[in-house]
Amino acid sequence: MILSDFSLLLSLAQQMSVFLVIAYLLSKTPAFLPLSNLSPRLPNTFILYCLFSGFCILGTYFGLAIDDAIANTRAVGAVLGGLLGGPVVGILVGFTGGIHRYFMGGFTDLACAISTTLEGLVGGLFHLWIRRRSSHNEHLFSPSIAFVATLLAEALQMLLILLIAKPFEQALHLVEVIALPMLTANSVGAALFMMMIRDRRHLYDKFTSHSSAKALNLAQRMVGTFHDGFKQADAIRIANIIREETGVSAVAITDTQQVLAFTGLGEDHHKANRPIASKQTHQAINENKIVFADGVEEPYRCSSSDKCPLGSSLVVPIRGGENEVIGTVKLYESKRRLFLHINRALGEGIAKVIAEQVRESQVQHQQQLLTEAELKLARAQINPHFLFNALNTISAVVKRDANAARQLIADLALFLRVNLKRNQQTTRLSAELEHVNAYLHIEQVRFADRLVIKQDIAEDFLQLELPTFTLQPLVENAIKHGTAHLLETGEITIYSRVHNGIKQLVVEDNAGLYEHPDQATHEGLGMHIVDTRLRNAFGSHYGLSVECQLNQYTRVIISLPREPKP
């Protein structure tokens, strides 16, 4: 019985369809994963071998018996095996399929056995060729390459049948009949098969990268959102971020008593500042566990409105420092949508990030309070000595030179005014210098020719913003712990410079008596506070550094950012 070319092609296409359906079903199982990840490790190679050998054998079984030969789709398995697994896998797959074919008998048995093995080798050579040409493995999954490789392999098979199979007339006849359909069906089949593998691979990649990008994005956007413990304004901002990033229908954040923020579907009747109503939330808080109402087995029921469009909810407790519940994050989906598994996983992560942020903000807040307290302490401690000496100086000057005395009083007033004003966090350098100069002028009069003061600040530094009380303590230290200990003339120089592209202010004395301070000492405390405040304001790249040459100089250097923080 001889079939026409067309009906043979049709029948091969049918075989191929069955093949592809099986492949598609397999692609839903974990067994398919090794196909798409190209690991050279042994278990992976073994799975490749088994899978494609299976396809090879199936191809033979599904084949149509023609003239004591079999028109088949065996080549797909062998070529793809070689293409994905390399020459060794290819030859093994081809050999296995070939042996199997050999025992099926027929006048082409030997030719087919050899050619199938060679087909595997062709796939393997393509594998090597692609690998050598580019480090990028993506081409291995190209359907067009699979197409070309299979076409070549099949042509080779036809050639071998003509060469090996006897009698030649029968072989020639066979090839005339099957060549075109088999070339077409196998090549197209291989290409389609490869397409399936590639899509599967892309889908997987896309899915994982999408969800991790989402999680990263969320975490990144939430960093630093809490300024001061767990407050409503921050909660609203966070809820909005979560909704934007996860795309869930609605998001709520509560503390243990009331709803702090609600955003999304159902905003009209879910209001912030109301006490917590939902059963699930109470359960999550009381039992410190994640409560999930999937909307199918356990529906979410809105307690305030029957028409609420929300159907499912996930309540994740936010745990504080002692693992106690300090609030919850709630994600909702509408009745018409399914709760995505990924959002469920994200929800748990989000609660952790929030908890972390709250904790950090609390620590930071404490730190800030501490620094402020230290600052106040430092100011209070600095004053008396200087104050009384200043008053004594004024008292001495007043009889000799009333105007000079008046100037001193003005300086002292300015100095005290700045010192006593405690609510201002930052100031411009020009204002800070005014404060410093008031101080220095008084010291200058006190010590007369035992103190020389120089100042050289570049014009463009004057508008820089810096924490209040940055320069003054350093200048005071330079006198108190530096030049005041000199029997000869002391020299204080305040200047600006740009060092390695960083703007710096330098307070230098000619005493060189700096010793690395103990934090317990007042001197150390003052420098420590200045340093901490600079770092808080500008980041850890900035702050204080000290250069000291014993008995020569001490340089205290303030590094400021190029673009001052507004």
Partner: protein, 245 residues
């Protein structure tokens, strides 16, 4: 009464000087800008009263007071802007101290008190009990102001190998050289860990490297830098005691 003012601020000195003009019985014989200058001239000036600022470079007013020989030291009035620690200490003992800016009434009282004290001293040879000395008791000297050619050198006590007195005065010897100081051997003995080994010598026991006994019951000491020092019989006992010999 002869008074000396020591303060590192010129205006503060002038101010006090002017206020003291109101007391004809008191004469300001000198003013100094630091404790070292004062110490250098003290023996020669023989003042009755020292007006001493506390915060001064290198050697503070309290340290200067500590360096004075308690037997013939002048009466000391501390003048300070604000020194909580010193004030706390003095408050118990009603020592003379003045707060800057100085109040004339308070100064009156102070001068009066000084006059009474000095009169008492002249009369009955009664030892003035400077209560600040109670406070300074046990306070070790750390720096010894010394004079080396035209310069002042502050020698750290631990660098000293020994101290000696001769007709030209008191000298401290370190491994780097010998310096002249205004402090008396008695002050050094009392206010430091230096040990007397001879009527004219104090030794830093940390610096002793060798003790050579002599037949007469005395000994010779060798210091780490190889200098030799006599030990008299009378003081040898305390040296031996120190080393548990």
């Amino acid at each position: 009464m002869r008074a000396v003012i020591v303060d590192d601020e010129p205006l503060a000195r002038e101010e006090l000087f002017e206020m003291l003009q109101a007391y004809p019985e008191l004469e300001v014989v000198a003013q100094f800008g630091n404790a070292i200058e004062c110490l250098k001239n003290l023996k020669q000036l023989q003042p009755d009263i020292l007006f001493l600022d506390i915060e001064m470079p290198q050697v503070s007013g309290l340290e200067l007071a500590n360096m004075l020989d308690s037997e013939n030291a002048p009466a000391i009035v501390f003048v300070t802007a604000y020194d909580q620690f010193a004030l706390d200490a003095f408050e118990q003992n009603a020592v003379d101290y003045l707060l800057k800016p100085i109040n004339q009434q308070r100064l009156n009282k102070s001068i009066q008190r000084l006059q009474e004290r000095l009169a008492r001293n002249d009369g009955g040879q009664e030892q003035a009990q400077h209560s600040y000395q109670n406070m300074l008791k046990g306070q070790e000297l750390k720096l010894i102001p010394c004079y080396f050619q035209q310069r002042v050198k502050l020698v750290r006590l631990e660098d000293i190998e020994y101290a000696s007195s001769d007709v030209s005065g008191v000298h401290v010897t370190t491994k780097n050289g010998t310096y002249h100081t205004q402090l008396t051997l008695k002050v050094l003995e009392e206010k430091s860990s230096l040990l007397r080994c001879h009527r004219q010598h104090l030794v830093n026991v940390e610096a002793i490297s060798e003790i050579a006994m002599e037949d007469n019951g005395g000994a010779q000491l060798f210091t780490r830098s190889g200098q030799q020092l006599p030990v008299s019989r009378r003081y040898f006992k305390s040296i031996k005691q120190h080393f548990g010999l």
